[in-house]
Amino acid sequence: MNIVSRLIAVAAQYKPRFWNAGTSKTQGQILFNYRKFWFASVTLRSLVSLVPIAILFMFTYVLENKAIRNENHLHTIRLTSNTRRTLTYFFEERLDALKFIVQEEKFEFLNNRLLLQDILRNLQRGFGGIIDLGVINAAGLQINYAGPFDLKDKDYRNQRWFVNCVQNGSYLSDVFLGYRNTPHLIIALKRPTPDGSFHILRVTLDVTKIIQILTSLELSERSEAFLCNRDGLLQTPSKYYGEFLQRVDLPIPAYSDRTQVMETVDKTGNPILIGYAYLDNSPYILMLVKRSKEIMKGWYTLRQEINWVFGISVILTLMVVLGISTFMVNKIYDADQTRLKAMERLESSSRLISIGRLAAGVAHEINNPLAVIGENAGLIDDIFNLKKEYSGDRQLQELIATVLESVERCGEITRQLLEFARHFEPKIQSLELKRIIAGVLSFLKKEASYRNIRIQMDIPDDFPVIDTDRSSLQQIFLNLINNAFQAMDKGGRLEIRAARQSQDLIRVSITDNGCGISEEDQQKIFEPFFTTKGMKEGTGLGLSITYGLVRKLKGEISVQSTMGQGTTFTVILPIKHGGDFRNETLAG
């Protein structure tokens, strides 16, 4: 809680200047909702910069994922394929050895135990994993045997391998326990005899050799390779997927003559990748099982890195976006504030002019009666001094001296008031109208561009220089143009035209395409305190002050307007102003 409030306090310190601007209802002129502007800027900039980053990262994500998957598949296939070749070779090699023996040796060894033991020894020396060697006659009886068990005269007539071998000429068996009760497998070869009969030569192989081949594969943790037969019985031990010689816990893949990869889940629901191959001429299926989680480990690390990079990019981008937006809106806000202040100064100076004129009027009106009082009191004083009956009366003399002193003080005050008003008295100068209007427009240019108001100024090059009072002229146009701005919505159009009216007069018209003024309101528009804007926005003095100023410059002002189409204010001014100002508020 404490931390949260502290964070809020820190955030408040960095709150941009414009944040609370325009929210106070007393503020007369609200150009913008800066906060909304800021939000729009942040949103737009964020979208523009973050969307490409997001798309890029998504692509990278998908592509990397695919690439790593493909590589894993390929790797699994390659490994499975190699192991398949090794195993196939292992079996073929032993079958070929048997074929060789069968071709090379005479029939003597069939019954000769010692000879058979010799052959077994040779075989064991040449190829590992051979346990024993036996000869079975056509009746299925083992007639000769060399090896560690006592299996002579065993009857194999009904055994599957025997039947198969009799049919196919050679046979590679599953792993089974058999009479000896140890897991082994058999390679058998049928050999016809000259008398038209046959016998079968059989070697028993130890499974450990095959297990060795499978375990020698360098597989990662939780991955393993094993053999199962086509019924799904495990032919080599498995750590994770079932008991030896029992059914494997995995689905048996469909037959294919090529090495394949299959994605599936194990019985606990973990996704796994199985590389498999059906070994040629054998009942075995080689299976290489990898846990997807393990093999995608690299991908997860990479993905984490991508996520980090993405996160940091997003944060950096957002910081830059926030910074730029805040900076920009602050700049606009400052510019607006400066402009508002300039306008306020202008307005307050026009207020001061009004006050000055009022003061001058009051001072002037009071001054005459004051002079009368002064003279009368002076006369009484004279009489007191001259006539003997009063000259000794000190009290009366003091009273009259106080009156005279007060009159003098009042006189000083009225003189000062008149002096103050004189600061605002008009001064005639030769002025270029174009420059005056351009100066006024520079105050309003920003608002015009924000509100998308087009301003067209049409003042001919041979327009005469006019002799008049600069500040009054500025005030007149500022008021009129400002008025036009307030009448217009976004995308308005303001036209300022000036022309020579006659030899001595010029005409300036200011036309807007705003809301217009009704007939009824046009009658009252120059009256003081008449406003259509409501109390909060205008004092209703702008146009009446303008009217007063135009009259002071010996000009005329008129208005034409159509509701909904726009308004034109026309000001007619003399080119040469005589110098004496028409001052309609001051009497006599």
């Binding site: 001058a360 001072a363 002037h364 001054n367 005459n368 004051l370 002079a371 009368v372 009082i373 002064g374 003279e375 009368n376 002076g378 006369l379 004279d382 009489i383 001259l386 009159v407 003098e408 006189g411 009225t414 003189r415 008149l418 004189r422 008295e425 006599g588």
Partner: protein, 118 residues
């Protein structure tokens, strides 16, 4: 000394004339520019106290005409609301002194007498 007092405020003009009389002047009050100029034609005056704002004409015109016809007459301007520029213009036209209302009678009298001595 014969003084003409010109001011549209009748009470003021009369009292001012009275006070001048008390100080040994002969003083006649008039209340507009036309009567002032008429009086000047009829009677000889040594000096004049003139307001700048009169009901029928500007005081400065009275000053100008007076200075043209009676160049030896001293004119003292006494105005309630003249600007410095107005006073400067009057001095250029030959006014002996300029005062803001209300002014001290002693200073007015002094200005008239000084003017007379010149």
């Amino acid at each position: 000394m014969n003084i003409l007092v010109v001011d549209d405020e009748k009470k003021f003009a009369r009292v001012l004339a009275e006070r001048l009389r008390l100080r040994g002047f002969r003083a006649t009050p008039v209340f507009d520019g036309t009567s002032a100029l008429a009086q000047l034609q009829m009677v000889h005056f040594n000096g004049m106290i003139l307001d700048l704002r009169l009901p029928d004409m500007e005081g400065i015109q009275v000053l100008r005409q007076t200075r043209e016809k009676f160049s030896d007459m001293k004119v003292v301007i006494l105005s309630g609301h003249a600007t410095r520029e107005d006073f400067n213009a009057c001095r250029e036209l030959g006014a002996a002194a300029c005062f803001h209302k209300p002014a001290k009678i002693s200073e007015l009298a002094k200005a008239l007498t000084d003017g007379n001595k010149e």
